[in-house]
Amino acid sequence: MGKKSSYVVTKNLNQASLWRNTKPLLGRLDIELTERCNNNCIHCCINLAEHDKTARDKELSTKELKNILVEAADLGCMMVRFTGGEPLLRDDFEELYIFTRKLGMKVILFTNGRLITLRLVELFAKMPPGEKIEITVYGMTKGSYDSAVRRQGAYEEAWQGINLLLANNIPFVVKGALLPSNKTELKEFEDFASTVTWMDRGPSYSMFFDLRGRRDSEKRNAQIKALRLSPEEGLSILTRDKKEYMKDKKQFCAKFTRPAGNNLFSCGAGKGSACVDAYGKLQLCMGLRHPDTVFDLRKQSIKTIMTERFADIRKMQAKNPRYMERCAKCFLKGLCEQCPGKSWTEHGTLDTPVQYFCDITHAQAEYLGLLGKGEKAWTVENWQERIRKFVEEV
């Protein structure tokens, strides 16, 4: 022992030095507590009916979830995201929340807000999640909200939940989903969002909707496709704050634009983070549910799956000639949403280019001046020069 002026060193939880140059095997775990939801959003990629008994019977039990949480904490995990479906539909949500916090992990809750009660808010006040709650708002009026989520009375419940958080000073942010029913309410929504003190930037929107993650309904996929914004419409939303958009993209392009070759996984999926589905399958990320890439936590540990199985998956190479011809050579790969997860939901494979995301990326690149009109990104040879010019441009 020796002389010290302070005996306790304070650190920031997100401080990398906590790890003394080593990253934990698992830093963040996403858990889909259920695929069931009390809404039935027209654009939703995952929801099952609230009372779907078959789904409920297959879901992880409280005990199984607690075992997963304990292993996650042992592996160094500091953050758990509870999502769904609607995670608050689970009767054991409070128990799981307290258990997670008592393991020292922070909680991010993704919710539609309808099941936020005074009791829950009091719990959040006493034992804060440590991260802002994220609420998706589907409309500013009863008509727009209820028609997007296709449930009577949802609007009142969701706003009651939001107001409870506000009244009790529980930090949260709001996000939007751009749908035909609420498109005209954008200003009203953003005006409201600007009054939420915890929002440090404008709300994010989903608008390039994903197809059904379980590939379970062609009819619903057709509905989702019909709701998707065209690349041009999407671009006009993304670039409403042109200055901010350009700044973001310059920073991004300086780091992440280059052809990724035939490696399917140029992203960080399954490296330091993972996702557990409602039935105990460990996925590299939320979108990738291809049966060859998911592993059963009822049979194997997170550690085994992440160190052995995921490591193999991450080495996978594209075999589809169209992918090899286009995406493998495309310098905009980092900007594009094309990935094995999207390929899976759209085409049932891991390596099929998704035309919709290709078109969105090309529209953005033309706007940014990285591509000429009609030019294809995978044909560009002097891409390094183009990126350099773009990033340096004042």
Partner: protein
């Protein structure tokens, strides 16, 4: 020195992360800032382990005097200094 201290069990979680001993506040009003966590070094951890809600502070100090090198006075100052800081931050409570 007859006081008995214990971790504020409902308010903080102690975890070891890759060899570092950290204390994470989980209740509102504990710690000063969002995202603030506390780290104890090896000797701090040794003190922490003895704040078990049973031992008097005097006993904690005499045990540590046997286990660690350093003068009794130095160890006493270190322990009381640490305890004061932990109390101020509501990481421990007096039993």
């Amino acid at each position: 020195m007859n006081a008995v201290y214990a971790p504020a069990e409902d308010d903080v979680v102690a975890r070891e992360l890759h060899g570092e001993f950290i204390i994470i506040p989980i209740s509102s009003g504990v710690g000063d800032l969002e995202d603030e966590i506390f780290s104890l070094n090896e000797t701090g951890k040794a003190v922490w382990d003895k704040l078990d809600g049973k031992k008097k502070l005097e006993e904690v100090i005499s045990e540590l005097t046997v286990e660690f090198e350093g003068s009794a006075e130095e160890i006493r100052n270190d322990v009381t200094g640490l305890v004061e800081e932990l109390l101020k931050r509501k990481i421990i409570v007096e039993n």
